[in-house]
Amino acid sequence: MSLFRGFSTALHSLWDYKGRTTLALLGMLVSSLLLAFLLALLFNFKLTMEGEMQGFGFREIVAMPGQLLNKQFSKSMDLSSLLSVTSMNSDLTYQDAQNVKREVPDVTAAVPQSEVVTSANTGSTSTEVLYTGSTPAYTKVFSIPLAEGRWLNNADVKNEAQSIVLGSAAKENLFGSKPAVGKTVTIKGVPFKVVGVLKPKQLIGFDFNDRAYTEYQMFTDTTSVRHASMIFFMVNSASNLHKADGQIYAVISGDHHGDKGFTLVKPYEALHFLNLIMQLVTAVTMGISGISFIVGGIGIMNVMLLVVKERTREIGLRKAVGAKSYHVLLQFLSESLLISVVGAAAGVGVSYGLLRLLGHYYKAISAHMPLYVVETSLAFSLAVGLIFGLWPAVKAVRVQPMDALRYE
């Protein structure tokens, strides 16, 4: 029996049970929608996170003041106010960064960062910015593409130039869509010259867009802040991360006379943890969808049992004129597979639509439907179609020609 013929008879016979077939299809659709949508969402979430990381995290160690993690962390605080508070209470210094850079050979860059919330104005407009002090090596730690101009350089440091680089939101607030390089921005009474503008950048836990960056010395000269809120250390290779971690700790705590008012954080470990959570969530997703698929499968079995019962005459006739058991088995399995696969395919289609819709409204999230999600959904639906179609198909096989001849 040709595949097409089998397919078209399957369609015909299912058409006779539109209501139930539709319900069974719907069951499979919902199941695969759930599976495909959640898996794709997880995939895109991970993709977005990794995209944001863009290399950051694998070779970095961040020194943070201990108070941030222990005493003053509160969910109600937003990040900028949190940072401005911690800067005040931090014991970390520019000197700590210099010492580590000098004493730990595996550290290729040591970048202090400090900031306060303050106002910036151009004469005509004014806005709140995170006035930030850092060093030219900052771009070794974070790769942030420039929209205009350049990053702070060594000449700025040497000449104590009044140069400033604006984050995308800060620039937007001050200059709108007009170019900003060469313009003047006054912060803390100092007329800074804009030398660069950053493109928008998202990284969970960091704010780049509201900042106005200047050279560290300039920052300390213009504010009362004497401590760094964070120090970023770049290690020459990921394999030296652990060794460097110990050495950095030794250097800083030595300088602080054993005072442990700071913590070293390895973002890589956080990423690792994130992966672990992702795996857990994926497993839970699979479990829930699995249950949903089982419910869908029961729907299919229900339809197929009905179909087999109603078609006893047809099955018996087919057997009487020469159909073998496997013909009958294949015929009914192909019908249950048709329901499960068509339902699942529709579910994947709808979930792709939803994903695109979501991506349309939340631009930050990517909207890819990776092939493995489609494959997983189809594999689930094939398994369900086979497993739950088997019993009805076996029932069909058991029908004898005589059953059909006596069937009224």
Binding site: R5, H12, D16, L317, R318, G322, A323, S325, M402, L405
Partner: protein
């Protein structure tokens, strides 16, 4: 070509055991046209189903073309039916939603034959029974006579050695009956082996041999003389009407 020896079919109806076919021995030659008559409930259909390998006897031996067929597996039996036997069922057994052509093609779906050849062959037999013009119709809306002709075409499509027909003229009007009998007359001329169960005297008259079943047993047997009259072989002449009168009520 065919021989049944001491074939018995016992069924358990409740606690009662009943022999619906009782020790039937019978042989049919190639090219022979055998008619089976007998009162309703005498076991004619059961015997035909056994001959058609649709039903299994509880005792006895069945040889088809020298081969003992009762021991064959389900799959082998299916193939045997598919290649050697054409069955015209008592109730037409057409698939109402399929077209006439699809109904006739059905047995060939399980035979090693290509799509084109299958279609051509089905059209050929539809032409033989005068139903080619209605090949695209669904069988649901055919008249009784038309359905029976399609059912006969389906039985012929695999070019079987043995044609079994269970009351092919039952419930048909005079004209349809004539058409069906014409088909069987033509099949007879083609020297096909035919077994036909019938209540109808006129239908039985076209057969070479004539078997009366009563209570599951062969009650009498007769052959056709050249003049078309039946000549008793074993027990005596008995017409269909007489057989019915003699049936236990």
């Amino acid at each position: 070509m065919i021989s049944l020896s001491h074939v018995t079919k016992t069924i358990a109806d409740g606690r009662l055991k009943q022999r619906i076919v009782d020790d039937v021995s019978l042989s049919i030659d190639e090219g022979e046209f055998l008619a089976i008559v007998g009162p309703s409930g005498s076991g004619k259909s059961t015997l035909l189903n056994i001959l058609g390998l649709l039903d299994k006897p509880t005792q006895g031996e069945y040889q088809f073309g020298g081969e003992s067929v009762l021991g064959l597996s389900g799959g082998r039996l299916a193939t045997f039916r598919n290649r050697r036997i054409g069955f015209v069922f008592q109730s037409f057994m057409l698939m109402p939603r399929m077209t006439v052509l699809q109904n006739v093609e059905l047995p060939l779906l399980y035979a090693p034959i290509g799509r084109r050849a299958r279609r051509d062959r089905a059209r050929e037999v539809l032409d033989q029974v005068g139903m080619l013009t209605k090949q695209k119709r669904t069988s649901l809306h055919l008249s009784g006579g038309e359905k029976q002709r399609v059912a006969i075409a389906r039985a012929l499509v695999n070019n079987p050695k043995l044609i079994l027909a269970d009351e092919p003229t039952g419930n048909l009007d005079e004209e349809s009956k004539r058409a069906v009998l014409d088909i069987f007359l033509r099949l007879r001329q083609q020297n096909r082996t035919i077994v036909m169960v019938t209540h109808d005297a006129e239908a039985a008259r076209i057969a070479d041999r004539y078997l009366t079943i009563r209570g599951g047993r062969i009650a009498s047997e007769a052959i056709r003389s050249d003049e078309g009259a039946r000549v008793p072989v074993a027990v005596g002449i008995e017409t269909d009407e007489e057989a019915r009168e003699g049936a236990p009520s």
